[in-house]
Structures are given as structure tokens and as C-alpha cells.
């Protein structure tokens, strides 16, 4: 069988190829990072001093620019001294993958530097709590209002102009105000997440609901559904899948407000952790923390996608990778049992 063409517009590649591509999408950046980190002649703009020789201010482990290193060595040699030795190195802000890998591990297992500082997982939990509360609070009002705006044009006419106006104001601009009103602890941070999410949420949800299929409404009307029942029994269920996916995207949106939210008032959570680690120049920890945020985001999103496919069985979709995997496990288990 001839293998399908790689470039055909709109054509999904076969499953095996899809998996390979998904793997490559992570592997390629990692490969690039490894190359820059481990192949000495790629980039490596600095020299790490091994033996200081007779250069006064060199110390083993010190990082100096290559030009400076050569210059100092030349000076030392002409002065009759011993040249320093060293190896090419990258700046501290680019730790190699293995260092970040190690940091990922040690971040959870080492004690914080100061006594009243938090462990990484504690910082993370704090951040997740902020996001969760902020997003829930926003959704509590944003989703119903969005649905009403989408379903009833007069409601949209009343709310959407002012929401359109407010959403262009950057959420961080409300930081000082939030602190003044809500004190300096968790509340103003949650407020920033809410402000950042809510206005977009209303508009996004309203737009989705507005795109409902009018033919379904008409069908329901000829079956005797009154105006109030239409909203609950036709409009909302017909948009449910899209609303769910909107919420997934909006949750990602909320995450991007986390960093600005957490510097409001007393800096806390993962932002504080990253700040501290950067201050100590533990950049491997900084990367570890950033990667963990990414992993949490990806896992949440894929988890929600997976759950979505389960709770909306009417979608004519190909089963997800995770789904296929689980059903495979199920079949294996069934056979052995």
C-alpha cells in the first residue's frame, strides 16, 4: 500500500504518524536544547575556569567571557605566569536539560532555603487554588450571563457594550484597586483572575450560544416547546460541547493571568517561588517550575478533553488516543480475566 502523502490540505495523517508527530513536537525542542547545552562548539559564549593559573581574580568555577579569558591568559603568560585552564560553558540562565531534570526532582524533595519559605508543591497548590477559585467565581456569573446574552438579543444589547469596553482594560491595572479593596492576601489575586477572565468569558460564551442552529429551535417549537423550555432543553444542550471547549480555552486564559495576579499584594505561589529561585540564581529550579506549570496546564487540558469525549457521547468523533489506549487495556484485561 502506498503511504499517504505528507502534505494534503485538511487530511489527517494516519494514527501512527500522528503519534510520531506528537512525540516529535516535544522531542525536537528538547533535542535543540540538548545540542546547545552539550555540544561545546554550539554557542557556549563563556569559559568556566578550572584552574585559575596565575590570574589573580580567577577562581575555579568562575564564568568569564571567552575574549576576557584569552586576554587575561595572554597577560599572565607575558608576565611569566601560568595560564588558566577552563572549558566552554553557557550562561547560568541556560542550564542543561539534565540539571533541570534533576531540579524537577529535587525541587520537590529539598527543604526550602529559609524557614518560613514554602516547598514547591505548597507554592503550586497555592497557585492552583487561586486559579481554581478565580475561574469558578468568574464562571459562576460569566457562563449564565453569556448564555443569556447569546440567547436573548436584548440582554446582549444591555450588557455587551460595557463588557466590550471593560475588557480592553488590562487586568493588572486593577491590581492596586484590588489590594485597596480586598487587602493584600488571597482575595485580590483571585479578583485579578476574575477580572481577567470574566469579560472575555461572557463574550466568548455569548458568541457560542448565538451560533446555535435555528432549525433545531424551530423543530422544538413545532413539538410544543415554549420559550422558557427552549433555553433549557434545546439551546443549552445544543451548545454544550462547544461551551465545554470554550471553558477549556478560558481556563488556559486564566492561567496566563496567574503571574500578574500573584504579584498583587503579598507575592505568593509559584510566582514567588520562581522569583526567589531567580534571585538565588537557581535557574534550573526556575525552569523546573515553569515546566511544571506547563505540565499542569497540558494535563488539565487533555484530561478535560478526555472527560469531554466521555460525557458527550453524541459527538461523532474518532476516539482519543487516551480513549483508544484505555479500551485496549480494557480488552487485554478482559481477555486475561
Amino acid at each position: 500500500m502506498p503511504s499517504p502523502r505528507w502534505f494534503a490540505i485538511g487530511r489527517e495523517p494516519p494514527p501512527r504518524r500522528r503519534n510520531v508527530l506528537a512525540l516529535l513536537s516535544f522531542l525536537l525542542p528538547l533535542l535543540l536544547w540538548s545540542a546547545v547545552s552539550y555540544v561545546p562548539w554550539i554557542w557556549h559564549p563563556l569559559m568556566r575556569v578550572n584552574d585559575a593559573g596565575t590570574v589573580e581574580w580567577f577562581k575555579p568555577g568562575l564564568l568569564v567571557e571567552r575574549a576576557v579569558f584569552a586576554e587575561e591568559n595572554a597577560k599572565a603568560v607575558t608576565a611569566g605566569g601560568r595560564a588558566a585552564t577552563g572549558e566552554r560553558a553557557n550562561p547560568v540562565f541556560l542550564p542543561p536539560p539534565h540539571a533541570v531534570g534533576r531540579a524537577l526532582w529535587t525541587a520537590f524533595t529539598t527543604k526550602p532555603v529559609l524557614r518560613d519559605e514554602l516547598w514547591l508543591h505548597q507554592s503550586l497548590l497555592l497557585s492552583i487554588r487561586t486559579i481554581f477559585l478565580g475561574f469558578m467565581l468568574s464562571s459562576l456569573f460569566g457562563v449564565p450571563l453569556g448564555i443569556l446574552c447569546g440567547a436573548y438579543p436584548p440582554v446582549a444589547r444591555l450588557f455587551e457594550p460595557v463588557i466590550d469596553f471593560v475588557r480592553y482594560m488590562p487586568a493588572p491595572a486593577f491590581g492596586a484597586l484590588a489590594v485597596a479593596v480586598l487587602d493584600i492576601y488571597a482575595a485580590p489575586k483571585i479578583a485579578i483572575i476574575v477580572i481577567g477572565t470574566f469579560f472575555q468569558q461572557v463574550l466568548v460564551i455569548a458568541n457560542t450560544v448565538r451560533r446555535h442552529d435555528p432549525a433545531l429551535i424551530e423543530a422544538a417549537q413545532t413539538l410544543g416547546a415554549g420559550p422558557r423550555k427552549l433555553l433549557l432543553h434545546v439551546i443549552i444542550p445544543s451548545c454544550l460541547v462547544d461551551l465545554y471547549n470554550d471553558q477549556r480555552i478560558l481556563l488556559g486564559w486564566a492561567w496566563t493571568y496567574l503571574i500578574v495576579a500573584e504579584v498583587v499584594g503579598v507575592s505568593t505561589g509559584i510566582t514567588f517561588f520562581i522569583g526567589q529561585q531567580a534571585k538565588y540564581r537557581n535557574f534550573d529550579n526556575v525552569y523546573a517550575a515553569i515546566i511544571i506549570i506547563g505540565i499542569i496546564g497540558l494535563v488539565t487540558d487533555q484530561g478535560l478533553a478526555f472527560v469531554g469525549r466521555r460525557i458527550f457521547p453524541w459527538q461523532p468523533r474518532a476516539p482519543s488516543r487516551l480513549n483508544a489506549f484505555l479500551s485496549l487495556l480494557g480488552r487485554k484485561g478482559g481477555k486475561t480475566a
Binding site: A220, T222, P237, S238, W314, P316
Partner: protein, 300 residues
């Protein structure tokens, strides 16, 4: 079988057929349309008269087909009858009472199926019953009976996307009938189906109609379909949409596909054809001839 008789008149009815029509017309009128006019105003401000002064009525348990050239206002009319659109003037009467807005007494089956994708087949059929305030268990048992009637009880737990077009349309019919409408309005319900499925669906529909106390108004632009299904055919003309003729189909019931070649069938069909495809008057205008082919054997 008789050869098609060129002189056979679609108005000539066998005694049994004539008697049937007599009985039919003694039945109460279910739906009456009085002076119905619908004018649209286009985006450019022009007025388009889609329907002008329509008058007709249908009798109880009658099967009426509505046929006419494209754009003559068939869909507009059926939407007015269903209450999904408002007439510019005129009235729609159901059992003698003027109606406004949609309700379950006028069921509708659309060309695009319009099943609720998030509901299983059974729950689709239950929808109207639940909207009428039936409790869940009654609605379920009634819906199951309707699914039995359209032969889809096996598929009660399937979702619409798992069904073929014909099956979807049978579900849609069951769903519309479940609320016991006085009249079932169907807008080209089989238009999207292939010829074979379509013939089968016509068969099903006649069977269902025979067993249910419902009047059917059926839009089609297929001459055979109209002749095969209808007691009477309402032929519309376009621009503006007006009633051109109401044909009493002289083909006896029960109908079968074998009747397609009978003289009364062909005569009826020919008459509708004349009405909706008037002979094209040659304007004497010729298209400029540009040869775009290199095949030179002039077989064409």
C-alpha cells in the same frame, strides 16, 4: 398493462375513486387557508410577493401534496402554516380556529432531519411528549410504540449521527407524530435521499398514514412522488406564488409502485408537468458558439 393513453383525462375518475373523494369532502376541514399573503422586503428595499391570496383547505386524514417550481413559495407557505413565520395578511385556521405561532398540533418534518443530536433516538421521540407535560414513564412507553410503528425500536439507544438519512427521517416522522398533531407538515422530507431509499420511504409513509389519524401536507418537486402519495395535489405557480390548480388524483388506493404506468397516473403526471413546466418560448436568441473541444469526430 394498458398502454399510456394519450387522450386519457386526469379528471376522469373511476366510480370507486369518485366515491372516495365524495366521502373525503364530507369530512370536517382540518386546515383552512384564507387569503394568505406573504411579502418579503429584501435588503435592497424591494418588495417580493412570495405568496398572494392563497385559499385552500384540507380535510381530515387527507394526504395533500404541494408542488410548484423552485422559488414559488412552498417553504414559505409551510412555515406560515407551522406558525414559524407570520403572514403579511390572511389567516390560517386549524379546526376552524385561527392559529398564531407554532404548536404541537401542527407537526413538522424538515428536509434537514433536525433531530436533536444530543438525544438518543428514543429521547428524540420523547421530546414532544415531555414538552406536553407527560411524565417520563408514559412518554417513554408512548415513544417506544411510535418507534415500533416506524420500525426503529432496535435503534432506540442510538444517537442520530449513527443513523442513515432514511432512518433519521423516520425518527423525525415518529417524533412529529408522537404529539398527536392534527396535521403533519412535511417540507421535501425525502429530498436529500437517494432514489431507492426515497421509494422505500414513500412506502413507509403511506403505511404510517393509513394507521394514524393525521392529515398530511407534503411538499415535493418530484412529479411521481406527488402523484403516488397524494389524494389531491395543490399546484402553485411562481412570482407571485398563487394556487394554479388543485388536482384530484384519480389513482385508486391502496397505491403501489406498479401503478406508475397506469393511464390515470401518467395523465395526472403529465398535467402537473404542463402546469409547472410551461412550454419554453424560444426567444430566437442563440448563444455565441465558441469551440472549446479538440475532439473532432462530431459524434455530438
Amino acid at each position: 398493462m394498458n398502454p399510456p393513453d394519450a387522450n386519457s383525462d386526469y379528471r376522469r375518475q373511476a366510480p370507486a375513486v369518485a366515491e372516495r373523494f365524495q366521502k373525503l369532502k364530507q369530512r370536517p376541514v382540518v386546515l383552512e387557508v384564507r387569503d394568505l399573503t406573504r411579502t418579503f422586503v429584501t435588503a435592497t428595499g424591494e418588495e417580493v410577493v412570495a405568496l398572494r391570496s392563497l385559499n385552500f383547505s384540507t380535510y381530515r386524514r387527507e394526504f395533500m401534496c404541494l408542488i410548484g417550481p423552485s422559488g414559488c413559495g412552498k417553504s414559505t407557505l409551510i412555515r406560515l402554516l407551522a406558525g414559524l413565520d407570520e403572514p403579511t395578511s390572511g389567516q390560517v385556521l386549524l379546526d376552524g380556529a385561527s392559529v398564531q405561532g407554532p404548536c404541537a398540533a401542527r407537526g413538522m418534518v424538515f428536509q434537514g432531519y433536525t433531530l436533536f443530536p444530543w438525544r438518543t433516538v428514543l429521547k428524540n421521540v420523547m421530546f414532544g411528549l415531555l414538552m406536553q407535560g407527560r411524565n417520563h414513564d408514559t412518554a417513554k412507553s408512548e415513544a417506544l410504540q411510535w418507534l415500533d410503528l416506524v420500525g426503529l425500536a432496535k435503534f432506540k439507544d442510538a444517537y442520530p449521527h449513527q443513523l442513515s438519512g432514511g432512518m433519521k427521517q423516520r425518527v423525525a416522522i415518529a417524533r412529529a407524530l408522537a404529539t398527536n398533531p392534527r396535521i403533519l407538515l412535511m417540507d421535501e422530507p425525502f429530498g436529500a435521499l437517494d432514489a431507492q431509499t426515497r421509494a422505500q420511504m414513500q412506502e413507509y409513509l403511506l403505511q404510517i398514514w393509513r394507521n394514524v389519524d393525521v392529515t398530511i401536507l407534503f411538499i415535493t418537486h418530484d412529479l411521481d412522488e406527488a402523484t403516488y402519495l397524494a389524494d389531491r395535489i395543490l399546484v402553485l405557480k411562481a412570482h407571485p406564488g398563487e394556487v394554479q390548480e388543485i388536482i384530484e388524483v384519480p389513482v385508486p388506493r391502496p397505491r403501489s409502485q406498479a401503478q406508475f404506468a397506469t393511464p390515470e397516473f401518467l395523465a395526472t403526471r403529465r398535467r402537473i408537468d404542463e402546469l409547472i413546466h410551461p412550454p419554453v418560448k424560444s426567444t430566437g436568441e442563440k448563444l455565441p458558439i465558441v469551440r472549446l473541444t479538440v475532439v473532432g469526430d462530431d459524434v455530438e
